[in-house]
């Protein structure tokens, strides 16, 4: 008998062998843990000459159903696979994609999309107006994702011919076409109508798309492969240089940066953290591209708090926020200042004549004292002026902003208690109105009208009126603008609301952050990015324009 050690060694070896067998099942990389699309050559890994671009992402794919709301990775992959009617270009303008143009009838209460005739599903079926109508109807029937809210006004959908589809609205809504055109991914009717309950449809194999790149195979937790769509009408002459796009999952951003440096990936789909920009810019093989944002960071005041309901208090708070130095120090210069609630990204609604609140803590204190606030106990803090500010702990920039604002506010005699908390708890608290001041960042507003409706209407249709403001005058302004069909009048009305909200100081905008995306400049060039980290470098259109560097 060899004794204990022998036994343990044997047991160990047995365990090791058992785990190896458990892992491999039958044989590696050939088992059923990946699902493939119909046109797949089953992962031979060989391309017919086209380049493979590998993109890093921090999250795994969750949901393959393009009708539902999706995580960023889901959106990147499915936005490339399923076409939208319109897309957003580098200047945040809506431009044609599947729809050549849209027109309105009956004073704006009928919106007609005119489709291109050269889009084709990857199984050879043409993309027609029927697919558009089917998609919209399905979203309304099942109330799917955020697009359901864009379809609120729709009372009827009419397919006039293969290239024409008309939406009848209960009342004219100026940005209807843009909102729907940008957000709604069109799905093939001949596939999805066979899928049963679309709210439960996983759509996790055999994808049929019509976008620039079509999902071809998925190995969960590891890799997602897309193949170029030869029929994509916006690809350059002779087809896209990038034939295969691979998404590789790196949950940790630092690991992803190393992978880029090492050449394991060619592009980071997620923005580079501010702290890592300088070191990546110094790398010879790596290019860093700056892309604008469709959202912005802000302080939003809870109007249900009786003290914050006082306009003077909100204006004073706006005077303790030093957005210039916040941009300089925390964003290291990579951001734009904002004045009113409309981002400068939307150049049509130019609000440069609005005057920003100056950074002036002493002036703020004087304003508050003039409004009757006193410091009875002499502790330097004005009585009643103590607020809790909530923020999302996972946003490193905002947690730093929180500290700066707290310290500056104290100078003006305002006490701010910070509650920078775990993201899910934060979302739940803001949703429930449990805060005095909400320090957060809007992700994507594709047009100002939708933003103003969602954030300021007292009926709170999108659930994101974080001011919890119920101001009949503001309601009237927003509702009036929404039904204005004349473009010039519409712009003037939006600018009017911008000025009104600014004067009311319902929010203090902080900055429009620039995103920095890093890629292997020694291999690829020619990305055509769109603003925001939702679109960024990885839209199907952008990828189709990329060329290889020899």
């Amino acid at each position: 008998m060899k004794g204990t050690i022998g036994r343990i060694r044997k047991a160990g070896a047995a365990l090791a062998v058992a785990t190896m067998i458990a892992v491999t099942g039958c044989s590696l990389n050939e088992s059923g843990d990946s699902t493939s699309g119909s046109g797949s050559t089953d992962g031979s890994g060989e391309q017919a000459g086209g380049a493979t671009l590998r993109i890093g992402t921090t999250t795994d794919m969750e949901n393959f159903n393009p009708l539902q709301s999706l995580s960023k990775t889901d959106s990147w992959i499915l936005n490339a696979t399923y076409p939208t009617l319109l897309r957003i270009d580098e200047n945040a303008q809506k431009v044609p994609e599947l729809a050549e143009e849209y027109t309105t009838e009956a004073d704006g209460s009928v919106v007609v999309f005119h489709l291109r005739d050269d889009f084709e599903w990857s199984d050879g079926t043409p993309v027609t107006a029927k697919d558009v109508a089917f998609t919209a109807q399905a979203i309304m029937d099942y109330q799917l994702g955020n697009v359901a809210a864009k379809l609120t006004w729709v009372t009827g959908i009419e397919v006039r011919d293969d290239q024409t589809v008309a939406f009848t609205l209960s009342e004219p809504y100026a940005p209807f076409a843009e909102g729907l055109g940008f957000w709604m991914r069109i799905v093939p009717e001949h596939i999805f109508s066979q899928a049963g309950d679309l709210s439960q449809f996983a759509n996790d194999t055999d994808w049929v798309g019509a976008g620039a790149y079509i999902l071809d195979s998925a190995t969960k937790g590891q890799r997602y492969t897309l193949k170029a769509n030869e029929n994509y009408p916006y690809a350059p002459e002779g087809g896209a240089a990038v034939e295969t796009v691979e998404y590789v999952v790196y949950p940790d951003i630092n690991t992803m940066i190393l992978a880029l440096r090492n050449g394991d990936i060619d592009l980071m789909g997620s923005p580079v953290p501010v702290s890592a920009v300088a070191s990546l810019e110094g790398e010879e093989n790596i290019e860093v591209e700056t892309v604008g944002s469709l959202g912005f960071a802000h302080l939003t005041y809870n109007m249900q708090n009786p003290v914050l309901a006082d306009q003077a208090v909100r204006q004073a708070l706006s005077m303790v926020v030093d957005s210039k130095s916040i941009i300089e120090t925390i964003l290291q210069g990579d951001g734009q200042e904002m004045v009113g609630p409309i981002s400068p990204v939307f150049a049509d609604y130019d609000n440069t004549d609005l005057e920003a609140y100056p950074f002036d803590p002493e002036g703020a204190r004087a304003l508050l004292e003039g409004a009757g606030y006193t410091d009875a106990n002499g502790d330097g803090i004005l009585d009643d002026l103590a607020f809790e500010m909530v923020c999302d702990q996972s946003n490193a920039n905002l947690t730093r902003v929180a500290e700066v604002v707290r310290d500056d506010a104290a100078e003006a005699g305002i006490q701010i208690d910070l509650a920078c908390i775990e993201r899910n708890t934060f979302l739940s608290r803001t949703r429930g109105g449990e805060y005095d001041i909400d320090l957060s960042q809007w992700g994507v507003f594709d047009n100002p009208m939708d933003q103003l409706r969602s954030t300021y209407l007292s009926s709170n249709p999108g659930g994101i009126n974080y001011n919890l403001v119920a101001d009949p005058e503001l309601d009237a302004l927003v509702n009036d603008a929404a039904v204005t069909a004349d473009v010039d009048q519409f712009v003037e009305k939006i600018k009017g609301i911008d000025a009104y909200v600014h004067d009311q100081a319902l929010l203090t905008p902080l900055y429009v952050e620039n995103f920095r995306f890093a890629y292997r400049g020694d291999r690829f060039t020619g990305f055509d990015p769109s603003p925001s980290d939702l679109l960024g470098m990885v839209t199907g259109y952008s990828l189709s324009q990329v060329t290889t560097v020899d």
Binding site: Q222, D252, N254, L258, N262, R423, L427, G463
Partner: protein
């Protein structure tokens, strides 16, 4: 002996039930709502209600619990909130990777830790002993993500010996696939073993030192048995018992370590699935993953219990 085994088994089932129950209620006590994450921004209250009922979160919590237990007994782990596929499918996809990583870390720790602990105890005060003591204490204080990033920078990026993250190159076939698997396994395995090994060797050393001072060892020596036989046969047998127990208990930490390791190394295991599901508040996936982990830890402890029964004649009778 049978009674001993039966009581251990009963305790194992009880432990799993407690783990399942605690997980269930803990998740629902979170001050966050999974439906809020589905649609960021534009979500009507109707849509939120519809999602709640789809998730079954609109029912009273006790009813949800009974329903869940009923499903669980039938081996049904439910359907993921976010991915719309059965949880068991997701777990089966990820489990082999975690088994490979944590399993080989477990085995390696034993294989290196035992001789190291014994050598340190026998040559008390010597170089090996001092090394083990130093290493035991420092590696206990190591933070896996920092170690992992350091390893990636040095051996992956600078030296280029190992790949940066991932578990395998999906384009490899046959033997090359196995090579790729091992190549990718090296760094995550090393970082897990690094943090496990020190404390393990140190504990074994302490036990061993104690045992070596016992009367029966002295008597064994006086009977003229070889040094080798005394140490490896008589002393280790008794010293390894507590160390084995410790390893069973440490399995929990090992799995906790796997969550971090898998996340940094982009390893597609259950640990990373947990990390992702926490962010998404995907209750069914989290519940399922914790059930699997609880079962694994309990089984391992059951196994060590039974193993110590074999090794320890006092329990056997």
């Amino acid at each position: 002996m049978l009674r001993y085994a039966a009581s251990r088994l009963f305790r194992a089932i009880l432990t799993i039930w407690i783990a399942v129950t605690v997980t269930f209620f803990l998740l629902r006590l979170l001050p966050a709502d999974p439906t809020l994450l589905v649609v960021e921004g534009d979500m009507t209250p109707e849509m939120q209600d519809a999602l709640r009922s789809q998730y079954g979160l609109d029912q009273p919590i006790l009813q949800q619990y009974v329903l869940y237990l009923g499903q669980l007994v039938q081996g049904n782990l439910g359907v993921s909130f976010r991915q719309l596929v059965p949880v068991s499918e997701l777990l089966l996809n990820r489990l082999p990777w975690t088994l490979l990583l944590a399993g080989s870390a477990f085995v390696l720790t034993l294989l290196i830790g035992i001789p190291l602990g014994v050598k340190a105890a026998v040559g008390r005060g010597g170089t090996v002993d001092r090394g083990v003591q130093f290493f035991g204490i420092t590696s206990n204080a190591l933070f896996i993500p920092s170690v992992a990033i350091l390893l990636l920078v040095v051996f992956g990026s600078n030296l280029g010996w190992f790949p940066i993250g991932q578990a395998i190159d999906p384009d490899t076939r046959g033997l090359a696939a196995y090579a790729s698997l091992l190549h990718h396994l090296a760094l995550p395995l090393f970082s897990l073993v690094l943090v496990q090994l020190g404390p393990y060797a140190l504990t074994l050393r302490t036990n061993m030192v104690e045992v070596l001072g016992e009367d029966y060892i002295t008597s064994a020596r006086s009977r003229g048995l070889t040094h080798r036989r005394v140490v490896w046969r008589h002393a280790l047998r008794n010293a390894v018992l507590p160390a084995l127990m410790l390893m069973g208990l440490q399995l929990g930490t090992l799995i906790g370590g796997a969550v971090l390791t898998e996340t940094v190394f982009a390893y597609p295991g259950v640990g990373r699935l947990i990390f992702e599901s926490v962010q998404q508040l995907d209750f069914p996936v989290l519940q399922g993953a914790f059930v699997i982990l609880a079962v694994t830890v309990v089984l391992a402890n059951l196994l060590t219990d039974l193993l110590s029964m074999v090794l320890n004649p006092r329990i056997r009778t």
